[in-house]
């Protein structure tokens, strides 16, 4: 089972089972040094395991990076990825 943050990429590479975690890439299990959150994300992702009914399904348990539902992290991530491209 794949546990990943890039739903568009996962839909192209079609793993047998996948759980989508709506976090910034590189922070699948939460921000640094938050062991409670790491464990909570992993446990919640594993809860999806018996719910898959077909191959190549991507399940979305509804993870959110920010507790208030803000997606401001997307602008920060975009800037980070563009800086990476500049080298």
């Amino acid at each position: 089972m794949m546990i990943g943050t890039a739903q568009d990429i996962m839909s192209k590479v079609t793993p047998p089972r996948a759980v989508f975690v709506d976090h910034p890439v590189g922070r699948t299990f939460g921000p640094p040094h938050d062991r409670v959150r790491n464990e909570a994300v992993l446990a919640r992702a594993l809860e999806e395991l018996p719910r898959f009914t077909r191959a190549n399904e991507i399940r979305d348990p509804g993870f959110q990076w920010s507790s208030d539902g803000s997606r401001a992290w997307e602008d920060e991530l975009l800037a980070e990825m563009r800086n990476e491209a500049k080298g």
């Binding site: 794949m2 568009d8 990429i9 590479v13 699948t28 640094p32 040094h33 464990e39 191959a55």
Partner: protein, 156 residues
């Protein structure tokens, strides 16, 4: 709507074409025939991480893999992956390689058992045939020898 990575990756690689994404050439679906609480669970990561004393990965086309002890106390993890988004994961590899979280779930009885080792390799490799026929096959044999029932792949 989820963040769209593919358009950003295409822009970043321009004027070169974006990386080709492929699906496995053979179906990989296996039925789940035992509960998680009776399953041996291994982590797979494409972060090219390792213990500090293990041989470094060579960017960018390194088809080797490392066995990383499943015991969280076995030593500090180093990430060799060349990606620029590695600044944050390098502060705490557990956010992409939840070794401690998985060990805790096993102690709580949610996961049945752990193998001696998890597995780490380089992501972003471009020779898909070599990935499928050599790297993946070697890791699969290692997983089988360790009697792993469920492999969790966390892409980097």
């Amino acid at each position: 709507m989820p963040f769209q990575y593919l358009p950003v990756m295409a822009q970043n690689s321009a004027p070169k074409p974006p990386r080709v994404l492929v699906s496995p050439s053979k179906p990989a679906w296996c039925p789940i025939n035992r509960p998680l609480s009776e399953s041996r669970v291994a982590l797979l990561t494409s972060a090219a991480l390792r213990l500090a004393h293990q041989e470094p990965f060579i960017p960018r086309e390194d088809f080797s893999y490392r066995r990383v002890p499943a015991d969280p106390g076995a030593g500090e993890i180093v990430i060799d992956h060349h990606s620029g988004i590695g600044r944050v994961p390098k502060q705490d590899p557990e956010i992409v390689f939840p070794r401690t979280a998985l060990a805790n779930l096993q102690k709580r009885g949610i996961v049945g058992s752990l193998p001696p080792f998890h597995f780490s390799f380089m992501g972003g490799l471009r020779d898909h045939g070599k990935i499928e026929n050599e790297l993946a096959t070697s890791i699969a044999n290692d997983l089988k020898q360790s009697q792993v029932n469920l492999a969790l792949l966390v892409p980097y």
